[in-house]
Amino acid sequence: MAAQWSSETFVAEFKDLQANVMALDCLGSWALLAGKKVYAFVSLDNPEEGESSPTVVRVARQSKWDTCCVQFNPHASHAQLYVTACNQRLDIYSMDDKSGNARCSLKAHSWIISDVDWSPFDVNVVASCSIDSFTYLWDIRDSKKPVSTFQTVERQYSSSVYTCHFSKIYGLDWSPNSEFHLVTASQDCYVRIWDYTNPKNCEGSINSGAPVWRARYTPFGTGLMTVVVPQLRRGENSLYLWNMDAQNQVQPIHTFVGHKDVVLEFQWRRQTDGVRDYQLVTWSRDQSLRIWRIEPSLQRLCGHDTGEGLELDLTGSSYNSSESTIKDLRELSQSESGPLEEDQGVKTTTVMAQQPYSLQQEFNLMNKNIPNITIDEDERRSPDTEASFPRGQQPPIVQPSPYLPLYSLGSFQDSSIPFPRTSGARFCSNGLLVLFGVPAEMKKVSECFIDGHDTHKPRSGRHRKHELVDKSTKKQQSVGKVKIFDGTPLLGISRFLAQNYKLDVNDLEGSCRHNASIAASIGRRDLVQVWNMVSVMSSKALSPNPNPDSGTPWARLPFGRRLLQYICNVQHKDIGFQHSSTVGPNSFNLPPVAIAPTSSSTHGPPVHPGTGHMCEVASQPNLAALFKAAVAKNKRSLSWSESYDDFKIYDIKNPQERAAEQERLQHEDNSKMLDPARWQQHEEFKQSYARILYNWRLLEQRSHILQFTSTPVSQHKGLEFAVHCHKCQQEIRGPQCSSCKHPALQCAICHLGVLGAANFCLTCGHGGHTAHMMEWFMKKGVCPTGCGCDCLRENIFGGL
């Protein structure tokens, strides 16, 4: 096998640790070797072998499980933090804390965790992958659950969104260049690069021909380093360096050979200041730690601009080093790596025979001759995308769009941000329908349709429905127009009617007739009927007689209240709005009528919600009008103070009188056209109608309607004066202190408590009845109590 035993600078063996994983801290000073019994921190600057070496710090550990992987936080601010994976659990430790207690544990995986990596962009984020086929993103501040979950291995019946691999994943690494990209290495022989914001899409892959154990980005250029699964291929102990840049990534550009056993872990050491070489640290099952120097020539092969001329490199140190590596390799193949030579002896010999003159040349040769490496040439076509959709599932939910947002910010949580809406329809204001993003190739409709309900003759053939969107124009090259449609006809309300309806409390019948004619003028025959009916109902002849003995009130008869209610309901539910609103006006009218001849007015006209009142307003939002009408009735009934007063008086009287009074009240209720039990609903109707009028800017009509609502007295908000009792210092509400019964305000002139209007000096606090104060200060300027305060002057300046 072609090999480049490049510039290995250091080897140290730590046989006693029995470590199976290794990690480097981000400052490049420590390597952590983790075994079953012990964690050892090895200083990279001056590593020494041996149990008593001062550069090795050991932390004992008790566990029956091996540590699956270790990773230091890559952020200098949290350099002491490292995460270990043990069986199904992730633990966060701090190097400062020698107690060996974990800071927190992250549990969610259901099987052994195979690799873990910190985000190079967010100090708190960790990604972990597991044999259980899931990849999780964690925020270590919230250890209860992962922030994101991806199913990274396809299962036949899964409905999850993402799959890339066909077999278990061994390795995972976060891209140093993009916050959203992860690279995963799998048993299926592929290395995949994917974006976790769009995990369906595999953005790059390498087929190494063998199961891949680890894949890590290089800290320079666009390189990627891989190592194959140790267990399966004895003798394949090499590391491969790839350039992921589009045209070059078909072949590994370099191979590191040297370990006598499989490479368990490799990591990049932070570049020390002033040194252009990067260092690669590897840990192998042979229990040796090796540090490799990556020279600028290699970096350049990964697309990294080292800022040095190419010539210099090829003729200088790297050429020499290549020579030396070849020499090393010879030794290696002769002495130690028997299996390797057997496996690939022929190819290796070929390479050896043609002594390369430059690195470049050598690599070219080498690449052609590596038998195990085949490159998936159409990775850009990302065949995984198709494979990733389980049977029976729809192709991507999201339409590929030419204008994906330009993300300038980003975080690990982006995967939980829903795909942006690219089109939509919103009802705004009064039935205006705003469509955006809809490439509207709407059908042009040539036939003339008439607004409204009843004027329309039903067409025998059903009409074509409206195509809001033409499927064929899914992708538009430019941002489509925003279209505003007038959907008010759908709602059964009309601004025209609202504007022209009349609601005259004193002439309900006439108002109704007026409204009927308005409705007729725009062809709303349904409304005409309603108004006519209400008009009849509100005629004076049907006004209730205040005397309970004079017969059943009209409202109690079948065509009275119930009819009105029915109309309201129908309007409501279906055509509802227009009708009911119109009716609403009627009923409104009625209430006013009711008010005039108290009981009668309640009865007849108001019967229908808002028949009367609303006339003006009601026309369009029938429902609303209805509501209002109803409200009006309610109000009327409530405002009928006469009866209530009477009631109070009677209360003191004998039972007979009381009974009579109750009967009277009952009668009154009965004679109302709108069911008093539903006044709240009618109130709502009116309020809704008022809202609609507001949106139309028909403010006059709106206030007209609102006159008929029984708005509760709004609670006082804002500043309030409070008085403190000057005897007991309690806060007083009302004229007297509740604890000591001292009057809250005492007049300085008459020495009585002040109940009504009062004036006080803000400086000395004395004052009293406004009238007394007026009188006093007409003549004098100083305080009447003789406290010496020049109240008039003080308050002038105070005011300024």
């Binding site: 008439i450 409204g452 941002v479 709602l491 409501h572 609609i692 139309w696």
Partner: protein, 323 residues
């Protein structure tokens, strides 16, 4: 009633000039001003009264795509709220013809996906749902200071939509004796596939209801405006391609779900008409359908392209003169 064709005519068409996709477009209460927001990080305002399309303002302040906008009730002035990928909520106000930032809220840890102003009766209150799973409720008394309350972890993984309930006391329609204090409520939907109703109780927001029914992320929720009927209706839509109508009789705490329809693609958006009887549904296939409840309580599509039947005709071109 017999079936009739109702014509919905094109009233206006605005070329927004956005450089990237539009994510939301809304008219103000009067229907005269159009606001649009886009991935190009801007919000544009147009005067669309009387069929014109006059640009008013181009609001820049977001550092990422702007997802949603919301108009406040005009009684508070011309106020617009926007939210975006940059984790910010910005409240804009018109001042003497020019628009400026009134308030900026940046206390979310991830993209803010939805903003919604409360009914004006409750005051100037804004709810914001974010991908960090939290919902913020911003309120002001008008003195320039804004108070923020945050419901942390309202939805696991993320909150995608918020919508306020109309300002009616829950039992107002039945309680004849007293007028109750209006309860502040809103509904939210999120990545935990749940629809949740929140209620303010003694100044604290508590979960009132948890409605389970969707099998994928809930993308939008909409509480239907009240027109006085004694019931509450909520529409929710999800990436599971379904729209669910949740109804409540106004007296109990029971919410009944009814699947409006299973669409062929993810559903992104639901929107109620002001009368609360028509629902506009739009989704990933860029189609818009209108749904209406019949007197019998059945929901029917009144603008279904495929079936070729329904009651709504949507017309481009000039409005007929009958209006």
């Amino acid at each position: 009633m017999q079936k009739n064709i109702i014509t919905v005519s094109l009233a206006n068409s605005v070329d927004t000039g956005h450089e990237d996709m539009i994510h939301d477009a809304q008219l103000d209460y009067y229907g005269t001003k159009l606001a649009t927001c886009s991935s190009d990080r801007s919000i544009k305002l147009f005067d669309v009264s009387n069929g014109q399309q006059v640009p008013i303002a181009d609001l820049r302040g977001h550092e990422g795509p702007v997802w949603q906008i919301a108009w406040a009730h005009p009684m508070y002035g011309s106020i617009l709220a926007s939210c975006g990928y940059d984790r910010k909520v910005i409240i804009w106000k018109e001042n003497g013809g020019s628009w400026e930032k009134l308030h900026e809220y940046a206390n979310h840890d991830s993209s803010v996906n939805s903003v919604c102003f409360a009914p004006y009766q409750l005051g100037l209150i804004l709810a914001c749902g974010s991908s960090d799973g939290a919902i913020s409720i911003l309120s002001t008394t008008g003195d320039g200071t804004w108070d923020a309350k945050k419901i942390n972890n309202a939805h696991t993984i993320g909150c995608n939509a918020v919508s306020w309930a109309p300002a009616t006391a829950p039992n107002a329609l039945f309680d004849q004796t007293s007028r109750q204090q209006t309860v502040k409520r809103f509904v939210s939907g999120g990545c935990d596939n749940l629809v949740k109703i929140w209620r303010e109780e003694e100044g604290q927001w508590v979960e009132d209801q948890k409605l389970e029914g969707h099998s994928d992320w809930v993308r939008d929720v909409a509480w239907a405006p009240s027109i006085g009927l004694p019931r509450n209706i909520i529409a929710s839509c999800s990436q599971d391609c379904r729209v669910i109508i949740w109804t409540n009789d106004g007296t109990s705490n029971q919410w009944v779900s009814h699947v409006l329809n299973k669409f062929n693609d993810v559903v992104w958006h639901v929107s109620w008409s002001i009368t609360g009887n028509i629902l506009a549904v739009s989704g990933g296939d860029n189609k818009v359908t209108l749904w209406k409840e019949s007197v019998e309580g059945q929901w029917t599509c009144i603008s279904d392209v495929n079936k070729g039947q329904g009651q709504v005709q949507i017309m481009e071109g000039q409005r007929s003169s009958s209006g």
